[in-house]
């Protein structure tokens, strides 16, 4: 098992290197002049030139990349042009909100979608199955912000049940924390539910056709036990995989959801940074998100060993 883990870890390195190069190129070969933006309204040409020098923007591209990569390796994402603080500090300040939102979303999504998927597979072809499949296509098709606005309008404004915006840190108490996360998490989980329910249904369906299920049924095991113990266990690997792949969707959704609910997380930071042409922050965030994506998928791969004893490396 350990050689497998080592191999899997090593395999992520080239991906990360490529990501770093892409991120660097993406933002350096651009028409916008960060030095001019940084200098502000009333800056003279000399001032702009000076800023360009201090940022190293006058160096040739490969040199710039070298300087930049060296910093990255040391865990330094540079200083935000706009906020004048370390990007790592900005990320650290915002990570709690985004992490909470993502966590609650995944928990909500799994708790809702897995049972739905199992039931749909069990009643394959029935009305519930059709309804769920319909909902799942709908879930892929409706824009996140429409769901968000609909919920704010209905739940917060018309019914007055939950706050309309913002985020409360968990150390301000569990209830305010949950209260502020319910709507954003539901908003964000729609697409996730659609995705996981589909995959659960398909894998359970496949498992139900296998011999060992027939054997289990023949042995007279109760249907619920067959479904949960055998069929669902078989679906664990695809579900884990789809959660991993879905992280990319989740990150995209976070950017939008945090804008709708005014949550000061990493998604909002991304939009603000892009609008302010804050290169180091954009680069840092894309790198960070990619790292999360690669990391989660690594964990998912490793989890196969736990979920599926048949897989041996």
């Amino acid at each position: 098992m350990y050689p497998f883990i080592a191999r899997r870890l090593l395999a992520t390195i080239p991906v990360l290197v490529i990501v770093a190069v892409l991120v660097f190129l993406l933002l350096r070969i651009t028409p916008g002049d960060p030095a001019a933006i940084l200098a502000g309204d009333a800056a003279s040409t000399e001032q702009i030139e000076g800023i360009r020098k201090t940022l190293g923007l006058d160096q040739p591209l490969p040199v710039q990349f070298g300087i930049w990569a060296l910093q990255m390796v040391q865990g330094d994402l540079g200083e935000s042009y706009y906020y004048k603080v370390r990007v790592t500090q900005l990320i650290a300040q915002r990570i709690e909100a985004t992490f909470s939102l993502a966590l609650v979303t995944i928990v909500v999504a799994v708790l809702i979608s897995v049972p739905l998927g199992v039931i749909a597979a069990w009643r394959f072809g029935g009305w519930f199955d059709r309804f769920l499949m319909g909902f799942s296509v709908f879930g892929f098709s409706v824009p996140v912000f429409i769901v968000g606005y609909l919920l704010v309008w209905l739940v917060s404004l018309k019914l007055g049940w939950l706050p309309v915006q913002g985020y409360k840190r968990i150390d301000a108490g569990l209830w305010p924390w949950i209260q502020h996360l319910v709507l954003p998490a539901i908003t964000l989980s729609v697409i996730y539910i659609a995705l996981i329910a589909r995959v659960t249904r398909a894998s359970v369906l496949e498992a139900l056709g296998e011999d060992y299920i027939r054997t289990a049924r023949a042995k007279g095991l109760p249907e619920s036990k067959v479904l949960v113990k055998h069929a669902l266990a078989n679906a664990a690997v695809p579900i884990a995989t789809v959660i991993g792949i879905g992280i990319a969707l989740l990150i995209g959704g976070v950017v939008v959801t945090e804008s709708v609910y005014a949550i000061p997380g990493l998604g909002r930071l991304t939009v603000d940074a892009v609008l302010a042409r804050d290169f180091p922050t954009i680069q840092g965030l894309i790198l960070f998100f990619s790292l999360i994506y690669v990391g989660v998928n690594l964990l998912v791969d490793l989890s196969y060993v736990v979920f599926d004893p048949r897989i041996r490396y």
Binding site: V19, G252, V256, F289, S290
Partner: protein, 312 residues
């Protein structure tokens, strides 16, 4: 599944002659309910897009500050560029500048469909190119596929946002920004198909006969990738339409004077509670369109390429 494979290689398979004449793929596609529903809705939307100027619309960029923030169905006035005032009925109300939302939504159909189709074509084209190259030129395979892995490791919407923010947002840049993150999936699919097909006896035969590589690709490999690519293209189109709206909504999409559903909604954000129709009407159009494309894609996949779901 076996039937499909037999279908696909009917020309070569010895057994196929014995198999009782089956429906062609096209017949199966046409019979599929999902394809029918999605197709009909899309044809309707295409008609709306094509006939936009004749559907009782006015110039979607024209505004009259005297007719701002009208509710759906209200009557108001419009000042034309020639300076004459015309009476106008605002079926979907007006926005905060006094533009006709009905006209903007109808014209927005053009933009959304165009972005969806062209973004899908661009990513298919580039993806097929990368996939064929990687599949055939083995020395390029490693580096090319690592770059694809790298692109896939960056969430699509982040690439799109960053790209659009860097260049000035225009139709071209938005389409490219949406298309780029989709390339790796297409490239992987094509590459895997190439790797399978090139081992087939008929391809090997062609190679040994000295047929040039490019001819083999065009003649034997591309036709076999068409079905899965059509399916993938519809899904890319659906997500492209969504991402275009999201970009506009976040304020980094097409310039606000271009009537797109995303722009109408972005404009409506500021007074969403008083005038929810500004967001919900284009939102309904957007959802229906994406839904139709997705349903069509589901139907196409079920009929053309049942293995698809497994491959991606």
């Amino acid at each position: 599944m076996a039937a499909t494979d037999a279908d696909r290689y009917a020309a070569l398979s010895v057994e196929s002659a014995d198999v009782r004449p089956q429906e062609t793929a096209w017949q199966r596609v046409r019979r599929n309910l999902s394809v029918r529903i999605g197709g009909v809705v899309l044809v309707l939307l295409l008609a709306v897009a094509a006939l936009a100027p004749w559907l009782g619309t006015v110039d979607p960029t024209m505004f009259d500050a005297g007719s701002r923030d009208l509710p759906p169905g209200a009557k108001g006035e419009m000042l034309t560029l020639d300076g004459e005032v015309i009476k106008h009925r605002f079926h979907f109300g007006s926005d905060s500048l006094g533009r006709d939302i009905y006209s903007r939504v109808i014209y927005g159909t053009r933009v959304s469909l165009f972005v969806g189709v062209v973004a899908a074509l661009v990513s298919l084209l580039l993806g097929v190119f990368c996939g064929l190259t990687a599949g055939y030129l083995r020395w390029l395979d490693g580096i090319l596929m690592r770059v694809m892995d790298g692109i896939m490791a960056i969430p699509a919407i982040l690439i799109a946002i960053a790209l659009v923010a860097m260049w000035r947002a225009s139709l071209v840049t938005v389409i490219i920004a949406i298309a780029i993150p989709e390339i790796p999936r297409v490239a992987r699919l094509v590459r895997s198909l190439v790797l399978t097909i090139r081992e087939e006896p008929y391809v090997e035969a062609a190679t040994s006969l000295g047929t040039p590589t490019w001819k083999i690709m065009l003649g034997h490999i591309l036709p076999n990738t068409i079905a899965p690519l059509v399916v993938m293209g519809t899904f890319i189109a659906a997500s492209a339409i969504l991402i275009e709206a999201i970009l506009s909504f976040l304020g980094v999409g097409l310039p606000p004077d271009i009537p797109t559903w995303g722009n109408i909604m972005a404009e409506g954000r500021i007074a969403f509670v008083q005038f929810p129709h500004n967001i919900f009407i284009p939102g309904i159009f957007l959802t229906i369109t994406v839904l139709a494309v997705n349903i069509l894609g589901d139907g196409l996949r079920d009929t053309l390429d049942p293995k698809m779901a497994k491959r991606i």
